[in-house]
Amino acid sequence: MNGVLIGAAGVPLAAFLLLGTVSWLGPPSGERTVSAVVVLSAATSAVLLGVTAWTGRAEVALGTWFAGFPVVLVADGWSLPTGILAALLGALIGAFSRRYLHRDPGYRRFHLLLALFVAGVQVVVLAGTLDLLVVGWELTGLASALLIAFFHRRRGPVAHGLRAFVTYRVCDVGLVGAAVVAHHSGPPLAIGLLLLWGSMGKAAQFPVGGWLPRAMEGPTPSSAICYGAISVSLGPYLLLRTAPTWSQAPAMPVLIAVVGGVTALHATLVGRAQTDVKAALAFASTTQVGLVLVEIGLGWHVLALVHLLGHAALRSAQILRSPSLLHDHHHLEQALGGPVPRTGALWERLVPRPVRLWLYRFALERGYLDALVVDRVVGGFARLVRRFAAADERWVRRIAEAR
């Protein structure tokens, strides 16, 4: 049993290390080989988890990685479905990208990062301790950010990759903090708050979700797996996994439901005013993940898991299909024999015109969140620090150049 579980987490990691070493050392390997390694590793991981599911729940203690860091892998009703879905999607995306990115100069880099992403997700999903979960969490964060910045010669994707990484890193403080507080057996409310903060970054919750629509500038296959399906689901997964800890604090379920509810309202409103399909899908993802958080807050954990996995499968299919949107729309119109009827007439009757106009403006500006979070809070802080740094530089110049 031990070997099977280690293999499920280790095979994608081994694939990443193998591809990384080979591409550092040697001449570029063929597209087929690279693709085969990635697809097979993800598929192997899925099969191994399937075998585990067959034999039932398992908790494997593998000793310590280094002093004070026990490695425990858990295969149970939460981790097995999520892990199998993640690995299957990884294999699917690997197979899809073989044609989608054929002859792209970054073909190997994409597959390398995809292998790293799948490896990180499997570590997160199977981790039995919060410390081990952090390892996978950081790996997925790095892989996601580099995948967003995949088209590295354009400024936009690079800036958006950095923004996603900044959000992840700021929220990781919560996750690491939760692990530390848990080690010192601190109050459940503190652990719960830190965990919620940690999960909000990955799950693109209000008010730190601005990175998700921007993340769609990465290649479509990686958008499908990272931001449509798996990466955003890791936030709710973290809360499901740690529910026994935070549910001891009575305030936590309410808070989680409020965060999810506010996110869902905000994202569904904003998503309706988006003009490109990938941004609209991103906000649709955010809405659903927000609803999953509401379900978690209400204590419907099994429903939340089913909702999460169903949403992941549907959304990645939609995003993979999104480049053919116009084609599909034509098909639909031909089948209907006329234009697709427009929806939302009910709201036009219910909501008065001035309110509708205001809401439209609000949605176009994405709820003024970027202006507030990026320009005011982050930008203001950066300007303050830069001012100090400039004063420091003037002082040094005065000493160095005095005669």
Partner: protein, 367 residues
């Protein structure tokens, strides 16, 4: 101990040979040979002499990645002397020897620095304080800490450091910083000072618009972590690797501005991976050896120190990725930049693979 002394001797011989050389390229090649010999010799004391081995590995990076344009043989020799002095710190551990070596390294660095006045204003008191700590053992904790604080660029006595990094040959800078952690007194005050410095340095680093200044403040932040924890062998190697990669990069470009991108990671993949690998290793990223160091720090008894380390590590990660994307992405055209040369590749490949092995299996390498 005998091994360490022999290693010091090898470094000194290498420095003399390199200093007598006329051609800068031949000098660098000989420096790499000498550094490799010292590294292999230092392995004889493994695993007790781990810190000395780490200094030698850092020395290999210094020798191989010092750009010839900014490191003529005389300057490269000074860098090698500084590495020799760093190894000498590990031979005999006594306050008197520390004070002598502390003064020696300051003088060698001064001879390579361009802002002599600035350097003296900060480092003369530092040398005197460490010497006073050796003379008055009862007050050593505070005196030595104050002396070390200057060299570790602790806030608010950090101001000399960014200018020093920007205007001094990077090999000298990197070698000068190696032994700082060995002299740090193990007191609660040092931990608090280090924690504050780690956060402030990290925050200053992340907003810089220039790659070299960002590196300088990143080193300030890493120095803060060293004050909390003492010398971590992996942290020393990773920080040196990052500094020397930036040096190798700045020899290829006019400026390292983060706001006007000029690089292309597809053209210089090894250089880009070296930057990212060393940077993430120093920012305590998982699967790299810095992670174990950071994880151990989280068990520190003072909650303030733990919180500061968590924040500093998170912000340092942002700084590294910001630097990586700013220096190697966002440029639309080819720039004809050269990837790592064979000497540079040798040093980076050896170090990165050791770091990766140390990160995956910390028990194997002992860091």
């Amino acid at each position: 101990m005998i091994v360490s002394a022999a290693v010091v001797l090898v470094w000194v011989v290498a420095a003399v040979v390199v200093g007598a050389e006329v051609d800068a390229r031949t000098a660098r090649r000989k420096a790499v040979y000498g550094a490799s010999a010292a590294l292999v010799l230092s392995l004889a004391a493994f695993p007790d002499g781990l810190v000395c081995t780490a200094f030698c590995l850092a020395g290999v990076l210094v020798a191989a990645l010092s750009p010839v344009a900014s490191h003529p043989p005389k300057v490269l020799a000074r860098a090698l002397v500084l590495v020799a002095a760093a190894c000498a710190f590990t031979v005999v551990r006594s306050p008197a020897v520390d004070a002598v070596l502390w003064a020696l390294t300051a003088v060698v660095a001064l001879s390579a620095a361009r802002d002599v006045r600035l350097f003296v204003v900060y480092h003369a008191p530092s040398v005197l304080l460490v010497a006073a700590g050796a003379v008055f053992p009862s007050a050593a904790g505070v005196l030595v800490l104050l002396g070390v604080a200057v060299r570790a660029a602790v806030v608010p006595v950090h101001s000399w450091f960014p200018r020093f990094v920007a205007r001094t040959p990077m090999g000298v800078v990197a070698a000068f910083l190696l032994p700082t952690g060995l002299v740090v007194p193990d007191t609660p005050l040092a931990a608090v000072v280090g924690a504050v410095t780690a956060v402030v340095g990290a925050v200053f680093a992340v907003v810089q618009a220039d790659g070299v200044r960002a590196l300088a403040f990143l080193l300030v932040s890493l120095g803060g972590v060293v004050l909390v924890d003492g010398t971590g062998p992996a942290a020393v190697v990773a920080a040196t690797g990052l500094a020397m990669t930036v040096a190798a990069l700045s020899a290829r470009r006019d400026s390292l501005s983060l706001s006007t991108p000029a690089g292309d990671l597809a053209r210089t993949p090894r250089l880009a991976v070296a930057y990212l690998g060393f940077g993430l290793a120093s920012a305590g990223f998982p699967l790299l050896p810095g992670f174990a160091d950071v994880h151990r720090l989280l068990t520190h008894p003072a909650p303030f120190v733990v919180a500061a380390v968590v924040v500093a590590v998170a912000v340092n990660g942002i700084t590294v990725l910001r630097g990586f994307l700013g220096l190697f992405a966002g440029h639309p055209r080819e720039n004809g930049e050269r990837d790592l040369t064979s000497l540079e590749h040798y040093a980076v490949a050896v170090t990165l693979s050791l770091l990766a092995i140390g990160g995956l299996a910390p028990g194997l390498t002992g860091w």
